[in-house]
């Protein structure tokens, strides 16, 4: 951290003059992404809701991807991961990423299975 900050974001597309400027730039970007999410959440464009990708609405995929984008910039620029050694960065990022993908895969598949049991099995629950 004491070795100064890396000041470019978007893979070098935007380069800031100082760390303070970079912070405000990242804020502007995060606000922009949140605004897109809120507008999409309120209007729910029909085309995005009706299209399904991998069993989920396209709109939901967009929300999740935008969330990951926001998480990336919070961790990289606010939490200074961009300035840390890559070994530390990888230890911090890939451990949860691997475990979370594993856990959500298992739980969501299981949840879907129970949904089908409730739907097609001989269980009365909606009365």
């Amino acid at each position: 951290m004491a070795h100064g900050h890396k000041l470019e974001i978007f893979r070098g597309l935007v380069k800031f003059k100082s760390n303070t400027q970079k912070i405000w730039g990242v804020l502007a970007f995060l606000t922009f992404v949140t605004a897109i999410e809120v507008v999409l959440g309120i209007y729910k464009p029909a085309g995005l809701v009706e299209t399904h990708v991998l069993g989920m609405k396209l709109l939901n995929w967009i929300f999740i991807i935008l969330t990951l984008v926001k998480a990336y910039y919070i961790a990289w620029d606010f939490m200074h991961l961009r300035d840390e050694k890559s070994s530390l960065r990888r230890a911090i990022v890939w451990t949860p990423v691997f475990l979370v993908i594993y856990l959500s895969f298992i739980l969501l598949v299981e949840g879907d299975y129970i949904y089908n049991v409730y739907k097609d099995g001989f269980v009365t629950w909606n009365f």
């Binding site: 804020l27 530390l88 969501l108």
Partner: protein, 324 residues
């Protein structure tokens, strides 16, 4: 160990003081804690996803649950949560500015930025308290069936929700709140709802333009409306009146939704609260000049990491509770 070749010739490998990851002990420990805390939150959110997939076609639609904004009447889904998100991101920005000022050893600037961060945290906590209160108090009221499902009421002409108070009849009844002091044993009960099931059913029969809305989500992504006859059939299974939400009953739909709402936003709110407290402690240390004497502001950086983490978690809670 004489034969061991080390590249950093001047350092004593086993004597301590090395920083292979280029971060101090305290900062590393903060990161380890944050990673484990991130896994805890992921566990909660994955459990939420499990329950939601299990009840995929009856899950409440967040846009219809969180519709209020303080001081304004009307239907404004998402607006207030978006505001809360912005507040939290904003307080993250002042925090990172405080860290930046700390690197430059500007005590005054650190004080003001930390102060702004604490105010932001307090506003967020207040907003969340309001959000909880609104959710607990409830909106229109509903009927719970014997199977534990929720029946809501809709005006057939406008398609808008109808509150129980708008159509329920008043039938004089002997039923009063059973208080503990009147009990034979140590029983009391929670406050009675404003209307009894009979009053709601009688009111429903008297108002032909009201229909029942079930929890089931139809093909078009909206909750299914029943016809008048189906509504009456459904109401035959009514077991109690539900107003608002708690851990056991929930007028908005599946009770698991309320359980997860209280649990996840509550756990997150607790993190925000402890973050504010820790920020306050560091704030006073900055004011007293502790870090000025120490020669560096690394403590500010460490609480900063925690504070950004709280923001990071909220970004995910926001997506999975309010958007998806």
């Amino acid at each position: 160990m004489d034969t061991t070749v080390t590249t950093g010739v001047k350092e004593n490998v086993w004597g301590g003081g090395n920083r292979p990851l280029g971060a101090s002990y305290g900062k590393l420990m903060m990161w380890f804690f944050l990673v484990s805390d991130a896994l805890t939150f992921s566990g909660f959110l994955a459990a939420y996803g499990f329950s939601r997939f299990k009840f995929m076609d009856i899950w409440p639609i967040a846009d219809e649950v969180f519709t209020h904004v303080p001081f304004f009447h009307g239907n404004y889904p998402m607006i207030y949560v978006a505001f809360m998100t912005f507040i939290l991101i904003m307080s993250s920005v002042t925090m990172v500015l405080a860290v930046d000022a700390g690197h430059k050893m500007k005590q005054k600037a650190v004080i003001w930025y930390m102060f702004a961060t604490i105010i932001g945290g307090a506003i967020f906590l207040g907003s969340q308290a309001w959000e909880w209160a609104t959710f607990i108090k409830g909106d229109h009221g509903a009927i719970e069936t014997k199977g534990g499902r929720i029946l809501q009421f809709v005006n057939a002409e406008t398609g808008e929700r109808v509150a129980l108070a708008d159509f329920a009849k008043t039938i004089p009844s002997e039923r009063v709140d059973h208080e503990r002091k009147n009990g034979i044993w140590f029983y009391g009960e929670t406050a009675l709802p404003s209307f009894s099931v009979n009053e709601v059913v009688a009111g429903f029969k008297a108002n032909p333009n009201i229909l029942v809305r079930t929890e089931t989500i139809g093909e078009d992504g909206h909750k299914t409306l029943l016809t008048r006859q189906e509504s009456l059939d459904k109401l035959a299974n009514a077991s109690q009146v539900v107003e608002g939400a708690n851990l056991i009953h929930n007028e908005y739909g599946s009770r698991l939704f309320a359980d997860f709402f209280f649990f996840i936003t509550g756990f997150h709110g607790f993190h925000v609260f402890s973050g504010v407290v820790i920020n306050l402690i560091i704030f006073f240390n900055v004011v007293l000049g502790t870090y000025e004497k120490r020669g560096h502001y690394e403590m500010v950086e460490k609480v900063g990491l925690y504070w950004h983490f709280v923001d990071l978690v909220w970004v995910f809670v926001f997506t999975f509770f309010y958007l998806v």
